[in-house]
């Protein structure tokens, strides 16, 4: 993080000339940094046009009552102009404390948090466990590694359908459960089982990435540390606690952050697993999509408002996470 190639050039002029006038400073800054700006220009333009503008537009939509009946649309060759009107913060008020706030927002909010935490914990624990097993000297570990990556290698939209077949009422999973004499859950109909199924599938999809990243991290830990710990009489648990976990901390913090963001925003799995059924298993992202595109009339304003709220949640989370990481680094 401390790679500053052009830094020396940046230091010298300042020490020679002191307190340049503002115009001069802008000119200096331009001369010094124009190539940096030129190099980031494509991305800045792309993000501005494709992200910034729609985002601003989307935010404006949340302050209106836009839906598919009053938005601008084209039918054949006729263009109908938008007729939605500005209603201020009403959408947010309705989502957060309107009469249906619990059913529509808070229940999904709670479930989204439960879903994210459960999935990431499962990803991390199972991933770390498998990574540690694979990090040993072991016959066939390359083969195991390749097999275990499979869920990650196959496109999600393919595997979710495989799971849908397997979890169907008379599918293979229920046949197996039935064969050992247990009650067969209706995975795709009952709300609790729908949620379980969603977590199950997402865990299956997400473990390989964690496993591979953590395996990379494990391999970068210096063997001598273990040797030293062993000589000092550290037990296996103590070695894990005081050598392995600290050695993994930087990888862990990255993959956990990615994991939380990906899981929180996980669209494909729930969308493809349940289609338009299962209102209870929808996390906020899929619920927002449903409001905007899965019903008639499409409620664009509400959907966008959900989107803005989701983004706010993620921004708050990410900044706290960063602050927390920084504090921990200082302690270490």
């Amino acid at each position: 993080m401390t790679l500053t190639a052009p830094a020396p050039a940046a230091e010298t002029p300042r020490s020679r000339r002191r307190a340049p006038r503002p115009v001069q400073r802008v000119r200096d800054s331009y001369r010094r940094y124009w190539y940096a700006y030129a190099m980031v220009a494509p991305v800045v333009i792309v993000l501005g046009v494709l992200v910034g503008y729609p985002l601003a537009r989307g935010f404006y939509l949340t302050l209106t009552d836009a839906n598919s009946l009053n938005s601008a649309r084209t039918i054949g060759v006729n263009t109908i102009d938008a007729t939605y009107k500005f209603i201020g913060l009403d959408n947010y008020a309705e989502i957060l404390w309107g009469p249906a706030a619990y059913d529509r927002f808070w229940s999904h909010f709670v479930w989204t948090i439960v879903w994210t935490v459960t999935c990431v914990v499962l990803h991390y624990v199972i991933g770390l466990g498998l990574a540690m097993l694979l990090n040993q000297r072991l016959r066939g570990r390359v083969a195991y590694r390749l097999l275990l990556i499979l869920p990650w290698a196959v496109p999600t939209f393919v595997t979710v359908f495989a799971w849908r077949i397997m979890l169907a009422d008379a599918g293979v999973i229920n046949s197996m459960i039935g064969a050992i004499g247990l009650a067969e859950p209706s995975w795709l109909e009952d709300p609790t089982w729908q949620r379980t199924a969603a977590i199950l599938v997402n865990t299956w999809c997400g473990v390989p990435f964690m496993m591979l990243s953590l395996l990379g991290g494990l391999q970068s830990i210096d063997e001598n540390l273990y040797e030293a710990a062993e000589i000092d009489g550290a037990s296996a648990w103590q070695r894990f606690r005081h050598v392995t976990l600290p050695g993994l901390s930087s990888v862990s913090s990255t993959v956990v952050l990615l994991g939380v963001i990906w899981t929180f925003n996980q669209f494909a799995i729930i969308f493809l697993l349940f289609g338009n059924t299962a209102p209870d298993a929808q996390i906020l992202v899929t619920w927002a999509y449903r409001l905007g595109f899965g019903q008639q009339p499409r409620d664009f304003a509400m959907s966008a408002a959900y989107g803005v709220l989701l983004l706010a949640i993620l921004i708050v989370f990410t900044s706290f996470y960063y602050r927390w990481l920084k504090r921990n680094d200082q302690l270490a």
């Binding site: 500053t4 190639a5 700006y37 030129a38 494709l50 990556i149 595997t159 391999q219 970068s220 062993e230």
Partner: protein, 291 residues
């Protein structure tokens, strides 16, 4: 990333890493069970794709007796499979090309140069990766329907770029970070401009990183579901991610055909993925694994 523990001095009697017999068996059993769980859904899908009837998944035992490749030939000859293939390649290829090209210089600038606005830019790049699709999908839809970009491949490429571009920039920054700065300095001393250094020295060295970014962009665009489901209307323009859903409508679920199509899609992608997966992980966590 080339640290191989085995290059150290011979350590035959080392205890760590050598398990007792119980540990050996336990490890193998755990890994075997995990591998089985990892493998099973795919194997099952392949198996079901051989059953000729759409309800065969309900009594899979019967498939053994009547296994055929009919589903495959049906999918290849009577469905829009090749249209979907073309759409998917156009969308994923376009996204990759556009994404990687615009991201490369930014990744380099962010990795090497400390310019005013550097931090906010990093923050925006990171934040954009965290965007829930729900934030952009509605306004994009509105804007695109005015621009008549709904139901066009170009439109889908553009929406995909909202996630791919920041991601690739970040990924490439990680890769550029691993290239020693001394090279840049050497380039400067030899009289190269920053662009020259980037173009003549760093870019050729970063080829593996570019490949990973390209691969990642391709795979992500390939498997993208939400945007594709919303922005594509005409079923001959579907990408695979949308096309596959069309086998299971509310009225009729043709699981057998779906399974066959899924296998046809998954096999090349999976093989491709295996070839490069090591680099992908390195790329994704670059900077943090170095410790």
């Amino acid at each position: 990333m080339t640290s191989s523990p085995s290059t150290h001095a011979p350590r035959k009697q080392r205890r760590r890493g050598d398990l007792g017999p119980v540990g050996q068996v336990g490890t193998h059993v755990t890994l075997a069970v995990a591998s089985l769980i990892a493998l099973f859904p795919i194997v099952w899908l392949v198996y079901l794709s051989l059953g000729p009837d759409k309800d065969d998944y309900l009594h899979p035992g019967g498939i053994f007796a009547k296994a055929t490749l009919d589903n495959y030939s049906f999918v290849l000859t009577n469905t829009a499979f090749f249209n979907w293939l073309w759409s998917t390649l156009v969308v994923a290829g376009g996204t990759t090309l556009f994404g990687v090209m615009s991201a490369a210089t930014t990744g380099y600038a962010v990795s090497r140069m400390r310019f005013p606005g550097h931090r906010p830019l990093m923050w925006v790049l990171l934040l954009t990766q965290a965007f829930p699709i729900a934030v952009l999908i509605v306004p994009m839809y509105e804007i695109f329907s005015q621009l008549r970009l709904v139901d066009s491949h170009l439109g889908l490429i553009l929406v995909n770029c909202t996630t791919i571009v920041p991601y690739c920039s970040w990924l490439l920054k990680g890769y550029f970070d691993t290239i020693p700065v001394e090279l840049d300095e050497a380039g400067m001393i030899d009289g190269l401009t920053p662009f020259g250094t980037f173009w003549r020295l760093i870019l050729p060295l970063a080829r593996p990183g570019l490949a990973v970014a390209a691969f990642y962009a391709f795979i992500t665009a390939f498997a993208e579901v939400a945007f594709a489901s919303t922005f594509l209307l005409d079923d001959s323009k579907y990408t695979f991610a949308v096309g596959l859903q069309s086998f299971i409508s509310e009225h009729d679920a043709q699981w057998n055909l779906m399974a066959a199509t899924a296998v046809l899609i998954a096999i090349p992608v999976t093989v491709f993925f295996y070839l490069v997966q090591r680099h992908v992980v390195t790329g994704l966590t670059a900077g943090s694994v170095k410790g």
